[in-house]
């Protein structure tokens, strides 16, 4: 039996090494399944919780153009959450279990959404930086080994680029506006820059799962590689806006062909992960309230469906 499992694992690894995708009904090591349930569901929760800081500004958008764009973006994030929950469910966990894990705090979601969105400029910074960082991660994941996850990522990536562009356009408008507007844009960048770098996770040497994730081709680049890519592509974008990235150590390094940048405040990082960020409690409370307040709707829809079905049966009898 044990020998058999070892053969299966070797064959599984060989499939991965050949670049084959793994599909839901294929044999897979229990740890591969568990890792994916955790990662895909965390990703789904992030999309869902990510609606909250932006939803906060829909009713206060400064124009109808901005409002329809933000509304459409937030609606896309709901869709992303749904694609990802479906992908996680292919691994044999139910939607209710997944939701439960979010609501009782056992599941994590991206810490970036535990920061508040204080001004309209934050909608610009979130689209530009947060969606920008998410895109880097998600483009990599379109090549991930688990088929349903990879397909969800392809769909998501197609939708993301509008998110980042609408955010950048908000920043551009503010930076070309009055002094006060430009200050507001700079302030948003100041507050979101470091948390955005944290989105890529701990340093490689503090990320014990990276090696296994690379071996199974769950990820194809390390946290630090992705973070570097983000910094390199974002600095010139800040230059176009005429904004200053809040990092005195940031400078171009000719030898590596990329920017050197300062050290992330890892104490803050772990503190927010552990639940002590400025909005952790509020996000969980809001999700719990939405779930509880929607209970009667879920139940009524089932009751209606059952009644309709029983009518159809009695008619055809």
């Amino acid at each position: 039996m044990e020998n058999n499992t070892r053969d299966l694992e070797a064959e599984f690894q060989a499939r991965i090494d050949r670049g084959e995708n793994i599909e839901a009904k294929d044999w897979m090591p229990e740890k591969y399944r568990k890792t994916h349930i955790r990662q895909i569901s965390q990703h789904a929760h992030s999309e869902v919780v990510g609606m909250l800081p932006e939803g906060n500004w829909i009713s206060r958008a400064p124009s109808l153009r901005r409002k329809v764009a933000l509304l459409a973006k937030v609606q896309d994030e709901a869709g992303h959450g749904l694609y990802l929950y479906s992908a996680a469910e292919t691994l044999g966990i139910s939607r209710d279990e997944l939701v439960e894990q979010l609501l009782d705090g056992t599941a994590k979601y991206s810490s970036i959404f535990n920061y508040p969105t204080l001004t309209w400029a934050d909608m610009g910074a979130v689209g530009w930086l947060v969606d920008g960082a998410a895109i880097i991660n998600q483009v990599m994941l379109t090549k991930t080994s688990y088929g349903p996850y990879a397909r969800a990522m392809v769909r998501i990536c197609k939708e993301e680029s509008f998110h980042q562009r609408q955010g950048y356009e908000i920043m551009l408008a503010l930076c070309n506006g009055s002094e006060a507007q430009k200050r507001m844009a700079q302030d948003a960048l100041n507050r979101f820059w470091w948390p955005s770098l944290m989105m890529f996770g701990p340093r490689d040497e503090d990320s014990p799962n990276t090696e296994q994730s690379m071996k199974w081709k769950i990820k194809k680049k390390t946290n630090d590689e992705l973070r570097q890519q983000f910094v390199d592509q974002t600095v010139p974008q800040a230059d176009i806006l005429g904004l200053i990235i809040p990092d005195p150590d940031l400078k171009w390094n000719d030898d590596k062909g990329g920017y050197d940048f300062g050290e992330i405040d890892w104490d803050e990082f772990w503190d927010v992960v552990k639940g002590n960020g400025p909005c952790n409690q509020k996000r969980l409370d809001d999700r719990n309230a939405a779930w509880d307040n929607g209970k009667w709707v879920r139940e009524a829809a089932i009751a209606h469906a059952e009644k309709q079905a029983s009518r159809r049966v009695s008619k055809s009898a």
Binding site: E23, K25, D26, W27, A72, Q75, D76, G79, L82, Y83, S86, E89, S94, R95, D96, R151, A152, R155, E159, R298, E299, A301, I302, H304, A305, Q308, A309
Partner: protein, 94 residues
């Protein structure tokens, strides 16, 4: 009572003349709601002109462990392809 809405598989025809293709799945209380939800989840950018929804429990899938015996017999039947037949170059329209 806490009953989960069943899962539905969603098939979308992107435009007339093309076949419906599997787009993904979602939860809905009944078929009508599944179509509504599919509209919102899978066709926000005009990706479809027609939707089929099928409750997932009615899909029977082939067993991946049997894929050898199911699909490999087609492997050595090269004579099912036009390139198997040797014909002169001057022959046209064939």
């Amino acid at each position: 009572m806490n009953k989960e809405w069943p899962i539905w598989e969603i098939f979308i025809r992107s435009k007339n003349g093309l076949e419906h293709r599997h787009a993904g799945s979602l939860h809905a209380a009944d078929a009508e709601m599944a179509i509504q939800n599919a509209r919102d989840v899978y066709t926000r950018r005009q990706e479809g002109v027609s939707v089929w929804v099928v409750e997932s429990k009615y899909v029977t899938a082939s067993n991946p462990e049997k894929s050898g015996e199911l699909f490999e017999p087609a492997k050595d039947k090269v004579y099912r392809h036009p390139t198997f037949y040797n014909l002169p170059d001057e022959l046209k329209h064939m």
